[in-house]
């Protein structure tokens, strides 16, 4: 376990955490403001990646493709909201799970139908390719730094947006007590649509960002969806700050666990046992974290104010 490897993995964890935050931010808002379980949020992440690949195929320019894919994700999120989600806000959580599960099935398979089951990839643009030296003999790819930077920028922008604009104020008020906001004369349906579309765009943005470093394939959204749910439950539903901290925590713990758990276990266990248990324990670590957090603080680390 060398120090340089540790630093690299720390950065990787940070990068995963930033991506998780982008997905979880939309999810926690939709969840907090509308009390709506959107399992289809992971599919929107996947769709962002596919749209970016398709837009790159048309334009050949990475940045133009990102822009087009962003707009397309936003439009698609709005479309889903108008067609399906808005009819489910007042319903039971069970029906929301059922409907959004159906959307997952449709889109996962639809993507397979349109683009095939084989993984696609998006080339890294020339400007962001290459790597920078961190210390002796340790280089880190520029693109991953770009992801971290873009994610931090979006997080900061989101923070400003939520804390100091009128819509942000309404979103916070909605997360605390939606009927009251509605009673004060705010068109809460339009607010819901805006938040939902915006959340879809954030998830799509995360998908676009990872398209060059991961393979773009059907079902890529499922794993990140579950991680994002873990993040928002740990962070406290409806809280952006909680989502950010929990996302970084989960990203770092997951990545470090995957790379070092076996080595750490080898210190106390026989090598063969460590090799068996290590990976399992690493995959489980974030769920263990979540179980512990929920056992100690049943509403998450930073529950939105005014919520039970």
């Amino acid at each position: 376990m060398s120090a340089s490897l540790f630093v690299v993995q720390l950065f990787n964890g940070l990068q995963l955490g930033i991506l998780l935050f982008l997905v979880a931010a939309g999810l926690t808002l939709v969840f907090g403001v509308m009390d709506f379980i959107n399992l289809a949020h992971g599919v929107q992440y996947m769709l962002g990646a596919y749209l970016a690949v398709m837009a790159y195929g048309f334009t050949g320019n990475f940045f133009l493709a990102v822009l087009i894919a962003l707009v397309a994700s936003l439009l698609f999120g709005l479309l889903l909201e108008l067609l399906v989600f808005r009819h489910l806000y007042a319903r039971d959580h069970l029906e929301q799970v059922l409907a959004t599960f159906g959307v997952i099935m449709l889109l996962n398979q639809g993507v397979k139908l349109l683009w095939g089951a084989a993984p696609l990839n998006l080339p890294i643009p020339a400007v962001l390719s290459g790597s920078v030296p961190l210390m002796d003999g340790l280089r880190y790819p520029v693109y991953r730094f770009a992801i971290i930077g873009a994610g931090v920028l979006v997080a900061a922008g989101l923070y400003l947006f939520i804390t100091s604009t009128r819509i942000g104020m309404l979103v916070r008020a909605g997360a605390t007590n939606a009927p009251m906001v509605s009673a004060l004369g705010i068109d809460i349906k339009r607010l819901f649509t805006v938040v939902s579309g915006f959340g879809a765009m954030l998830a799509g943005f995360a998908g676009i960002m990872v398209a060059p470093i991961l393979s773009v394939e059907p079902g890529m959204g499922d794993q990140i969806l579950i991680l994002a749910f873990v993040v928002i439950v740990i962070g406290g539903i409806g809280s952006i700050r909680g989502a950010f901290l929990a996302a970084v925590l989960v990203g770092v713990i997951d990545t470090l666990g995957r790379s070092f758990m076996t080595d750490v276990l080898r210190l106390v266990l026989a090598p063969a046992t460590a090799r068996t248990i290590g990976p399992a324990l690493a995959s489980m670590s974030i769920y263990l974290l979540m179980a512990v957090v929920l056992a100690v603080r049943p509403a998450g680390l930073f529950p939105a104010k005014g919520r039970a």
Partner: protein, 417 residues
């Protein structure tokens, strides 16, 4: 007077004389359908039908156990498939060590799933609503990852059983027909036990907790032990289903515990309709048949199933049982109206002012509604709190978003204060 020695106790005799409930009659129809399937299968030209029937029965057991949590307890578990896997793995591991006899494998499956349910339930049941959904999902994921790392037992690739479970050293369950009826017998036993459980004090408390926890606490019930017991019972029953599922395939893999499998179990329960016991059984059957038929139509059958689920959630959230109940209400209302003695009574029934069900569009018989004189309908609307409606209309004009019932309640509460 001489005391007669009774071979059959009074309670049992009375129970046998009582007419069966509608739920029980529907369940009986389901059991009859399943029991006759192997007799029909050869004439339809495929032993394949038996395999579908077996899977339908096994998933019916799993769906029934989930119904105990969702329908009675209001606990939406999104990790129920974990118990399928735990049961199947326990029996499979026992079998791979040469202990594949029924007296070891089945108790192992039940004990393992009960222990898993107790350990995870002790934490999960403390949480509510969305948090419960998420924490059950998290525990199922943990079980999934443990299974993938069980290198001595196949790891990712899964574990092939050396053989199906034996009974006194004989390969009785190898016979497909016997296995089929053994599964069916287990399903019937599960149905009867769950029916008794729901009707018992325990079941009533559980449903009471779902409807109004505060009130139940005020009555002196502590929610935690009831919910935890329900969770353990459901988990153990699902473990039994897992035991059967592993036997059926002679194989178990981590995919048994995948979160999408948990989602499918929820779909089965919702497709059948919660609140009844026959619903989930029909739901499991319908889901498997849909999967079968659609996958024959096209390789991309999920493109068809997905929108169907969305439509189901949007427009028919009661599932099969809900549709049947609505249809029965309609029939019942119509029959009662035709039987009603006076013109006055008929009119009251037709306008829905009294009768089997009011409020929903299916509440009163549509045929009667369509045929009845218009002034009855108008009269009914006029008689029903017109003043309140006028006030509401004025409020609605002033506050644009005043359309949700909870808001109306909120205003009413303020008014009273």
């Amino acid at each position: 007077m001489r005391r007669a020695i009774r071979l059959i106790p009074d309670r049992v005799r009375d129970a046998a004389r009582r007419p069966l409930s509608f739920d029980a009659r529907m369940a009986l129809a389901y059991f009859a359908l399943i029991a006759l399937l192997p007799l029909l299968a050869p004439s339809l030209g495929s032993g394949y039908l038996i395999v579908i029937g077996e899977r339908a029965v096994i998933f019916a057991i799993a769906a029934l156990s989930l119904e105990l949590l969702i329908g009675a307890g209001g606990l939406v578990s999104f990790g129920h498939a974990a118990f399928l896997g735990v049961g199947a793995y326990a029996a499979g591991i026992a079998a791979s060590h040469g202990l594949g006899t029924l007296s070891v494998a089945l108790p192992a499956a039940l004990a393992a799933s009960a222990a898993f349910a107790l350990a995870t339930g002790a934490i999960a049941v403390r949480t509510h609503g969305v948090y419960f959904i998420m924490i059950t999902l998290a525990f199922a994921q943990m079980a999934f990852f443990i299974a993938t790392s069980l290198a001595p037992y196949g790891g990712d690739d899964g574990l092939s059983w050396p053989t199906r479970t034996t009974l006194f050293g004989r390969h009785v369950l190898k016979n497909e027909t016997i296995f089929y009826y053994v599964s069916l017998a287990l399903l019937i036993a599960a149905y009867v036990c769950l029916g008794r459980l729901m009707a018992s004090r325990f079941g009533r408390v559980l449903r009471g907790l779902k409807d109004n926890e505060t009130r139940m606490q005020a009555l002196g019930f502590t929610p935690y032990p009831y919910r935890l017991s329900a969770y353990v019972i459901a988990g153990t029953l699902c473990g039994a289903a897992g035991f059967l599922l592993g036997n059926q395939a002679e194989f178990v893999s981590p995919a048994y515990m995948h979160w999408q499998r948990s989602g499918e179990l929820i779909i089965m329960v919702l497709l059948g309709g919660t609140g009844t016991l026959y619903g989930p059984m029909f739901g499991a059957l319908t889901f498997l048949l849909l999967e079968e038929v659609l996958s024959r139509l096209t390789e991309h059958w999920k493109v068809l199933l997905g929108p169907a689920l969305v439509l189901l959630a949007l427009f028919a959230s009661g599932g099969i049982a809900g549709a049947v109940a609505a249809w029965r209400h309609e029939q019942g209302g119509l029959a009662r109206m035709l039987r009603a003695r006076s013109r006055f009574a008929r009119r009251r029934l037709a306008t829905g002012m009294v009768g089997p069900a009011r409020g929903r569009w299916l509440g009163y018989p549509w045929l009667a509604h369509a045929a009845m004189p218009l002034r009855w309908v108008v009269g009914r609307a006029r008689s029903r709190g017109q003043a309140a409606k006028g006030t509401l209309a004025r409020l609605r004009r002033d506050l644009p978003a005043l359309r949700q019932p909870e808001l109306r309640n909120m205003l009413a509460r303020w008014w009273r204060q």
